[in-house]
């Protein structure tokens, strides 16, 4: 741990202690989407000082012996409130904090869980991505929230290369590391006993998907996820729970439209500017934040598919 991170950690602990003394973090409302699986729905906004980067769906899964937090939240406050919510629901210890991928809205609450000494779990590529991008994400979030409120992520201590199992007592979570899709470090969780897939950001509902990995890869991973023995899924953005695999339909349609239209344009010798102006426009009105992300998605997908 660098001196700066140590300082941030000390500050974080001090803040936790300080805020306990002054005003304990308030639990937030969660939905129990299946027995022992709790989800807090994020708002469909980009991170701002007002929303504390509490924009992703985050939550926790409770076993007989222990709790797994799934995505520790988007900021210090988001993480602290999630931790307070866990403590309000169960007295089981937090043994695992799963980070489904490297995006800041999912992991910057990680520092709020240090006192629990959990195992921080991530995709095998997560550590490398955080080395490359962590400082950049931190700077952007600090610019928005200020250093005291931005929080910080923890480096993963359990890396998942392919699959892994987390035993919570009477409940074994099956983790799967994916090829490049939403990002290149996506992790999903299957709770076989309730038939629940925690799809995280491999599944966007209502909010337009954001491509930071591979469009073709995402469609491939989505097809595999649809075949899993799950009847419900937890999206990374959207309602706390959707029926599965029916809940994948909108996202699959959007991604397919992008791939089809970009490939058609490439075949005609079209350029990236034309792609940004034209591709995916039939989807406008079907998604929140469409105008903020569609052009970026098209740019990323065009850059990927032009090398096919």
């Amino acid at each position: 741990m660098s001196r700066r991170r140590l300082a941030a950690a000390v500050a974080g602990v001090w803040l936790v202690a300080g805020s306990v003394a002054l005003a304990a973090p308030l639990p937030f409302p969660v939905t129990e989407v299946a027995s022992g699986i709790f989800v807090r729905q994020g708002v469909h906004q980009d991170a701002t000082a007002e929303n504390d980067d509490a924009i992703a769906n985050i939550g926790f899964i409770v076993g007989l012996d222990a709790v797994a937090v799934v995505d520790p939240g988007g900021s210090l406050d988001d993480g602290e409130r999630l931790r307070a919510t866990v403590q309000a629901k169960t007295d089981r210890p937090i043994r695992y904090v799963v980070m489904t991928h490297a995006h800041p809205d999912h992991i910057f609450g990680g520092i709020a869980f240090m006192a629990d000494h959990p195992v921080f779990v991530g995709h095998a590529r997560l550590a490398g991505v955080l080395i490359d991008r962590g400082e950049y994400y931190r700077k952007r979030l600090v610019d928005l929230l200020g250093r005291d409120r931005a929080g910080d992520y923890e480096m993963p201590t359990l890396l998942v290369t392919d699959t892994a199992a987390l035993d919570l007592g009477g409940r074994v979570l099956e983790l799967q590391a994916h090829g490049a899709a939403h990002t290149d470090n996506d992790l999903t969780i299957l709770d076989r006993q309730t038939g629940t897939l925690w799809a995280a950001d491999l599944l966007f509902v209502d909010r337009v998907p954001a491509i930071d990995g591979s469009l073709a890869g995402w469609l491939k991973e989505l097809a595999a996820l649809k075949a899993l023995p799950a009847t419900r899924a937890v999206p990374g953005h959207g309602p706390p729970v959707v029926p599965w695999p029916a809940g994948a339909a909108d996202e699959e349609r959007y991604l397919t439209v992008l791939a089809t239209e970009i490939r058609a344009l490439l075949a005609k010798g079209g350029d990236i500017e034309t792609a940004v102006e034209q591709v995916g426009l039939g989807e406008r009105g079907k998604w929140q934040l469409f105008d903020e992300y569609n052009g970026r998605n098209v740019t990323a997908a065009f850059k990927e598919l032009e090398w096919d």
Binding site: I131, D132, R133, D184, R296, T299, K303, W307
Partner: protein
Amino acid sequence: MRRILLIAVLMLGSAGAARAEESDADRQARWQDLRHAVFGDRTVEDGRGIITLEAPPRALDAALVPITIDLPGPAKVTAVYLMIDENPSPLAGTFHFGPAADTRELRTRVRVDAYTLMHAVAETEDGRLFGAEKFVKAAGGCSAPSTKDQKLALERLGQMRLKPVGEASAAKGDDAVQLLISHPNFNGMQMDQLTRNYTPARFIQDVKVTRGDALVFDLEADISLSEDPAITFGVADKASAPITVEVHDSANATFKQSFDLPKRGT
């Protein structure tokens, strides 16, 4: 070079907030400094009718900002200078055209570090300079984390694609083609958080395109080209000779490839 870049990064960091508020007068003063540094006392004339520069007013991805330079003619253009005023190394590229060029249109993709004026300056065969200007809102494109898949980037390093694009000049028998070069174009400004070092710069310095024995263009490039640089240009269709591309990067690697250009519309 490294030290200069670092200083530039530090300056950008501290001035970042102020930059968006920079006045038009400040921007014009910066452009005059830059103009003087590149062209000395030569006059850059208003380029209306000779050169236009198009770029999105607000970039979707600051590390990949597509720009288009139009040179409608008839003035014979021998070189084009592309400048991104606020970038740490503002002269992004200089295209020197040869006899096999059709200079009417030029496209590429660049990184933009802060809200900036961009300039494209055409040099005509009589030695005059004509400028076009565009303001672009984008930030962070130089220090943005680079390619997601380093392994793929290394496997593909130096690979090239050349393909016909657009329809504008087909009728006149000229070819517009797009060159794609797989190269991370590391600019030395992406930080490794553990070591606190910057990923060493490794970027394309020179792209030379010839058709048969005739030069199409020779591009002197710098760190502002996007990763996997893309250049769309015209070639005069005087012969069916293959197009050869030779790329030289700052790690002293050379990549060379020849392409037979498919005849259009046949």
